[in-house]
Subunit: 196 residues, 2 copies
């Protein structure tokens, strides 16, 4: 009936977890009940693609070359915490127990998905960790199989370069994803972190 | 970290069925793995809001004043089938058993959601059904409580104006939504439609 509607339904399927029926319902909802929301989402997508880059220091999403947190001079430059995603970083920030800096992998090693060390840009992490200021790297990847394998790989890589490396204590439930763990558990795991 | 990312995450929550965690994951996926998809979705939304209107005759979404189906001179102008949504209309078209025209309500009567006869623009349906060409109105709203109530309301409204009104036969499972019913069942229900 409407080519523009078909185009929108197709485009909505680019979203993760959205199948043909969901896409159809979303398109219907937006056009019938929330055209203002559709226009706002259009602008937000355009702006994000145009504006959001990776922080030159910590690799997280940022609108500026170096993100606010990396620019914050009150943070402890001797500590570098490695996390998988910005959501994980946010969880750790919310515990208020960590005052160091971060490196955000934007993923994890996942051989089944074809994500190896090069895809994760681990060379960027090595450069960052060996800048002379960092004294300890805290590995805070998830306690899933892939997160553990990623922590192990990074640990070996950095220890071979003489770095001190620690891992969050296993207060985080085995198999658990940081994003879904309460702040208190993460806070204790941070305090109990152990060398690897 | 990124205002543009926060803005995008907020905007994604305007989609039906998308909560804060889903929105965060969608934003991450688009920016990390599919910026082209994000740009395409932005364009599709803009174009849809700009282009998609309601067909002046059948009320469905259309890029033109009157939609292609309503313009098709091979259709039987004596039959008018009333459906809730464009998806329902598509299901009926796929049965290849109906050659008449349509009126798409774009919803259903739903007192609990505050959707009454005025919100459904039933006056537009009355005008369409009483154009002189239509001989029979086939009610193909869903066989849910709200769909049945909508069919009953429209039936009384049109019969009071002397129209012949029929309802899809109950080959469609009770409580079933057309969109999820197989084409064969709908085809039989169309052939067995009864007067109301
Ligand atoms: Zn940064
Ligand atoms: Zn039409």
């Amino acid at each position: 009936m409407s080519k523009a509607l078909d185009f929108l339904t197709e485009a909505l399927r680019r979203l993760p977890g959205v199948g043909p029926k969901s896409a159809q319902r979303m398109a219907f909802h937006l056009l019938q009940y929330d055209r203002e929301g559709a226009a706002e989402l259009s602008r937000a997508l355009y702006q994000a693609v145009d504006t959001v880059h990776h922080c030159a220091k910590c690799n997280t999403f940022s609108d500026t070359t170096v993100c606010d947190l990396c620019m914050d001079e009150s943070r402890d430059t001797a500590l570098l915490c490695v996390v998988e995603t910005p959501a994980d970083q946010l969880m750790i920030e919310q515990t208020l127990t960590y005052k160091g800096l971060y490196f955000v992998l934007m993923g994890r090693l996942s051989p089944l998905d074809g994500i190896g060390p090069k895809d994760l840009h681990l060379d960027k992490l090595v450069t960052r960790a060996t800048d002379g200021a960092v004294q300890e790297v805290v590995l805070a990847t998830n306690f899933t199989n892939e997160g553990e394998a990623t922590a192990h790989y990074i640990s070996e890589m950095l220890k071979a370069r003489g770095m001190k490396v620690s891992r969050l204590a296993r207060g985080v439930p085995v198999g658990g994803e940081l994003e879904y763990v309460d702040a208190g558990t993460i806070a204790r795991a941070m305090l109990d972190r152990r060398s690897t």
